[in-house]
Symmetry: C2
DNA sequence: TAGATTGTTAATCGATTAACAATC
DNA sequence: TAGATTGTTAATCGATTAACAATC
């Protein structure tokens, strides 16, 4: 319908997952006063190969200059725009245990266009408490938050046992993007995105590799022989 | 050298990353008293397709029975063994801010063979405080923790600015598996594994998809028209 | 112009999926 | 045996990489 570069479709998932890291690397360069960067330098800062970086960026458009490199501010803006970070995303965190508490206080969200507009909990004993400057609200407020605050992203930080109920409530209220910290699989209708962060899964993957290393290293022999 | 099934090599990374989820699903089934499960049922519980599950399990060995399915306890044990969870993994958490605090109190680690043996911080003002039943130790204790407690896995929960220093200290002390919560790229020598959990990266990926949905939905039209 | 670096191509690699022979 | 379900094959799909023509 259009020759506008934003009309291109289908940025690969693997590429989308790396864009935040590129953006962070660019932000770091900008803070150090660097205004121009080559794919080789930026790739090193982001921990990838330069060929991969250039391929990834090519999906967004043609924002570099051959023989010169990329302008840091301009590329950062283009990636921000692609990720949808030039607008403000209201976020609600559900579940005010240790993790929810830490997430509510985490300043890293605010730096990138995310605004924690509400903290909620199913437990009436916790509702009303003030955490990180916000009064904890009951789940019944969800619908109002969606319509009045434009709430679009929900973070689930409850125990696994209540995660599906909380998820259902979020979906019923109209939230279509969910970040799940509970160690369980969530069932959602089509059109709802769930991403999962599982702390103990990550440790288990490390343990697998650590075990392989231990089996192959001299330390394993020492350990096997020692009393 | 051996026909032992444990002699097989090279389980794909994508498969390793799913094994913890299968294990969790199996644990859930066992708790409900279910002793036998088909690949179709287990796949549904783990949120994958049955063909993928069977392919993944085939890398571990042949633990099912044709026409019958898998014995829940036996398969859980085999996955645990493959992941190295039949042994105990001492873990240290470095950085006792909000997130480190929450991680120290997180009970999900202990349930899967991980034991938080030490909490550390670079700030002398925090060293000595008691958190989750452990006294916070200075970084200088790392080497002793590795040799005396067999510390193998380090969790970095510091701000980005100090993460590389902490990482270097962990590596110097002999830690070869690191879980990084700081929003930055860590440089490590060969033989050291780093996995990264980035809370705001996950939100940014959600924002990308949410933006695409908003552009395509009737709600976007309403929003564009409304004052 | 000469040197440098992008954007793209084509080859390779790894992951997913459907289908089905093997076999309980 | 008949029915069910695994383990494996082969095809497809998507991601990565190296190389280089395009071009600043």
């Amino acid at each position: 319908m259009s020759a506008d570069p934003s009309a291109r479709r289908g940025i690969p998932d693997a590429t989308v997952a790396r864009l935040p890291e590129y953006l962070r690397a660019l932000t770091g360069l900008a803070e150090r006063g660097i205004t121009s960067v080559s794919s080789e330098e930026l790739a090193a800062a982001a921990g990838v190969r330069s060929a991969k970086l250039r391929k990834d960026l090519s999906y967004l458009g043609s924002y570099g200059v051959r023989g010169v490199g990329y302008e840091v501010d301009h590329l950062a803006y283009q990636i921000s725009r692609e990720l949808g970070l030039t607008q403000d995303w209201p976020v609600a965190i559900v579940g005010m245990g240790n993790l929810g508490h830490a997430l509510a206080a985490y300043s890293g969200f605010a730096t990138r266009g995310f605004r924690v507009v509400a903290l909620l909990d199913q437990d009436p004993a916790i509702v009303g408490q003030e955490i990180a400057g916000l009064a904890v609200q009951p789940m019944s407020e969800l619908t109002a938050l969606v319509s009045e605050q434009g709430l679009a992203i929900g973070v689930i930080a409850t125990p696994a046992a209540s995660a599906q109920d909380v998820c259902d409530a979020l979906v019923a209220a109209g939230v279509r993007s969910i970040l799940n910290f509970a160690p369980c699989v969530l069932v959602v209708p089509d059109g709802v995105d769930v991403r999962k962060v599982d702390l103990s899964t990550e440790l288990q993957i490390l343990a697998f590799h650590e075990q392989r290393k231990a089996l192959a290293s001299p330390a394993a022999l020492r350990k096997a022989v020692a009393p």
